[in-house]
Amino acid sequence: MSIELGHFALILAFVIASVSALGGLTLWQRGERLAAVMSQAAVLQFVLVAVAFLAVVHAFVVSDFSLALAANHSHSLKPLIFKISGVWGNHEGSMLLWVLILVLFGALAAAFSRDLPSDLTNLVLGTQSLLTAAFAGFTLFTSNPFARLSPAPLEGGDLNPVLQDIGLAIHPPLLYAGYVGFSICFSFAMAALISGRIDQAWARWVRPWTMLSWIFLTLGIAMGSYWAYYELGWGGWWFWDPVENASFMPWLAGTALLHSALVMEKRNALKIWTIFLAIITFSLSLLGTFLVRSGILTSVHTFASDPTRGLVILTMLAVLIGGAFLLFAMRSPALRQGGLFAPISREGALILNNLFLATAVGAVLVGTLYPLLLDALTGTTISVGAPFFNFTFGALMAPLLLVLPFGPLLAWKRADLVAAGQRLIGFAALAVFLAILISALGGTSISLVPIGLLLGFWVSFGALAELVERSRLGRIPLAESLRRLAGLPRSIWSTAIAHMGLGLTVLGIVAVSAWETELVTTLNPGETAELAGYQISFDRFEQMSGANYVADAGYFTVTGAGGDTQFLVAERRTYVARGMPTTEAAIQTYGLSQLYLQLGEPLDDTHVVRLWHKPYILLIWIGALVMAGAGMLSLTDRRVRLGVPQTARKTKLEQVR
């Protein structure tokens, strides 16, 4: 019964979204009264989709296997958390989650739109409803999550064991929130193009949404990377897989958008480019979610291999993205540019940032799609893998990281590069010194390592330069400097912290690539191995069973250089329902480094054990967390805090009209 209720709610949401899209996009000039209706419709869509989603969650929780989706992807013995996360561990359910987040953002936009001009509200919510109608329709007509089974099976087919992990509970919702959040930027871009209203106020409305989505995407990608790292069992954390690239491209484009919207907000320049980026970012998000399910990319046989479904997805993407770019081509020449500036200026630096980020997006996109196109056009099959991306992406990021610390030190309009250089020289010297010192101590043979270290330190320390400059640290009494630091706007702090986070990630990547050590060996209980100064002794081997799996478990004692001991358990599990094996690596953290231990296959009379020491690997994810935290800090800045500035601006806008 509740299933049918959910199904009905989703149908109703689809109908309301369709009507709302039609109304909003055609009658947008009708003003406040339509805006009120649009807002209500947006909230209603959210409530209805939430009902639909909860109906499916309920069926999973109570193990109602008359729901085909639950029967195929759930199991009554699963822990509760995995029953819930199992809802989106499959194509239909993940579509439903996608639509849920889409309408959530629509409802949030409606809630915070009271201060928007009504025509903008109508257009934004209209576009948002159009997206909802498209994807709710797609879910209903090609990927119905509410299909029933009769007779209902007694037990479910279970969720893929690799997905039975806390990672599945967190990673997809975060990633989807990031992808879908950019839909608001897209809707704002559409609204600007249709209405012709594009000014600094527009950028000020869009930036918090961009920031919010960017935070989610940053966390989602970092979480996914860490999940792959500990779950896949060999300690890789980034693979340049098409699916990863698909999530990384919107992140790069979103990062560029954050910076270009800044120029637009402060200086009323880069308008057309910012609109373009907003469209591109969401288009890449759509590609991220859907290209991998269309069956084009080889990496997705498991999720949606039904060819009609793939065709529908491609058609929808073509219409939405194509329509958006058509509108852009028609309307953007009419948008007036403003805000003059010299090449050496904050604007100039941000344009440089955009140039490199946009090129990186293009390079990753070409690298991801090139093998497909080449195969389709000439029948030649090639692979484009990690070595290509590492080289191309690295070559593009190096100059970006090199100029990054200058950016925040340059003044708007016209800046003095020499003065900025003087302020940075101390930090540069420190970075050079540390890079040389560490390279010497680490005994590196790879020539790129010192350069990587240098860039990492340079970006991390350079981020501090603006704080030092603004607080006049060292030139006035310390207490006065500290008072100044505390009084700095949060936007300054968040810039510095975010850039420092990037530096930390770079350092982590360089360190683990250069100094990772590995040992593959055979051990019997009672024997000992040594890696990177750690003594690893294999204590005992045991077979055990969990809630829905049986496992071979190896118990290890690790003795550090200081004599401290840690007890680790590495498992090889076999999940009962599907008979599928997984590896549960044992990971021990020492400071920022980790010891990664995998129990390999049993040989005749012994066990294969793989050990890795991963120095400073945690910096990679800590850097990402720091970046996301900086984003959150910037959202609390006075400038974007809701209420004060908006109200003032609205009256100004009202006066104009």
Binding site: V292, S383, E601, V608
Partner: protein, 152 residues
């Protein structure tokens, strides 16, 4: 990433349980072994998705790893080993595509984009300087004339 994980499962379940580089494969000469690892990292496991044979658990990857080591022990250079594998399995096996007529666009994409972007930036400011640099609009001229008339 979920899809990737799913896929990993798929081939895990297809291939009998074997794992990445096993202790029995490792060559006694560390220099040779390091070369084998470097080569392996650039060779694709043909039955997996976008994974090098160095990381892969599949049986085929194991066979390839052993093949690479056999060639190295036989005295081949890195390039010769790579060519040997390419001759056998096609260029698809290389994770880093070779520069050639068919990949020129791939390799040129990033530099081309960068150059196009730079040129666009260098040309753009001239286009955007002061929208009304060349005088007043007709409406403004008319309004100005009207003002002048009023004062007269």
């Amino acid at each position: 990433m979920i899809f990737r994980l799913l896929l990993v499962c798929l081939w895990l379940s297809l291939s009998s349980v074997a794992n990445a580089v096993g202790p029995d494969e490792i060559l006694p000469d560390p220099a040779l072994e390091q070369r084998a690892r470097d080569i392996s990292a650039g060779l694709r496991c043909l039955v997996c998705q976008n994974q090098s044979i160095d990381d892969s658990d599949a049986d085929l990857a194991r066979d390839l790893r052993i093949l690479v080591r056999e060639r190295l022990v036989a005295g081949d250079s890195n390039a010769e080993v790579e060519q040997f594998v390419v001759d056998r399995y096609g260029e698809y096996v290389l994770l880093n595509p070779r520069l050639g007529a068919h990949t020129i666009l791939l390799w040129a994409a990033a530099p081309l984009l960068l150059i196009v972007g730079l040129v666009a930036i260098l040309l753009a400011p001239r286009r955007t300087i002061t929208p009304h640099a060349d005088g007043l609009t007709p409406a403004e001229t008319e309004a100005l004339d009207a003002l002048k008339r009023d004062r007269n």
